[in-house]
Symmetry: C2
Subunit: 172 residues, 2 copies
Amino acid sequence: MPIEIERKFLVTGDAWRAAAREVVPMTQGYLNDLAAMDTGAMKASVRVRIQGDEAYLNLKSRELGHTRQEFDYAIPVDDARGLMALSVGGVVDKRRHYVEVGGWLWEVDEFLGENAGLVVAEIELDSADEAFDPPAWIGAEVTHLKRYYNLALATRPYAAWTDPERAATDAG
Amino acid sequence: MPIEIERKFLVTGDAWRAAAREVVPMTQGYLNDLAAMDTGAMKASVRVRIQGDEAYLNLKSRELGHTRQEFDYAIPVDDARGLMALSVGGVVDKRRHYVEVGGWLWEVDEFLGENAGLVVAEIELDSADEAFDPPAWIGAEVTHLKRYYNLALATRPYAAWTDPERAATDAG
């Protein structure tokens, strides 16, 4: 069973842009909302994503933090459009930049639309305590803040956040 | 976008068994419950099914009655087992018999476990008002009774139904 370990950080400044080797526009929606996961009504989120001429259906278990089960399937783009129309909340639009620094691959998500202004970087690790070298543009960790989940951004976008919500991090 | 039109009927007696040309054991679970559909928290159900050495992930829109959008994807059986563990409610076990009568293909679902005693027959049509010839063992229609949805059986199995619930049909 595939296990995914990810940590998520705020991004400071624009220095990362020079190191980006690829950018992929992504549009995604969810068939459920965060509340369904929080109450235990659902044990997995269901996401549909269109990126360029590819589309994917993704299911992730709801364990909090950085360790989750994940299942991902390529589906026809037409199906994805049909499924997107069945999503709850809004569609999340972003540009994902792949940035390699010192042998580590960072995914820098620059959000658009209702989530414009939000930029986060994720790194995938083999274990929760694996050491890595964060580049200078990596800010505070927000792995455990649910409002940063893409699932949460679909129903409560960055535009709706308060200043304290924008300022808080995993450290407090 | 694939559209599926199905009508569902109770089955009386065992005469259909002689005409069954194939039987497929199916085990299925749902990542959401009926309540999520009823409240509009979700616009589609998400089902995982294992049948023999094949497995499928299925998404259906929540329009009531017999007209629905449906998406179905083959997935690895190991994935299906992992996803089944993330389902809500119980697992629905049944034997699906394919019965052809007068050019019409009927799917007769004989439920097991907590749903033992329930046998229903479904027919897939090109339009909601398409005429067809029901064989003698087809009983009253239950297309519009939600408790017969497999999704509903996962959380409230046939064993839990009252006698009036077992007796009622679309006609009343």
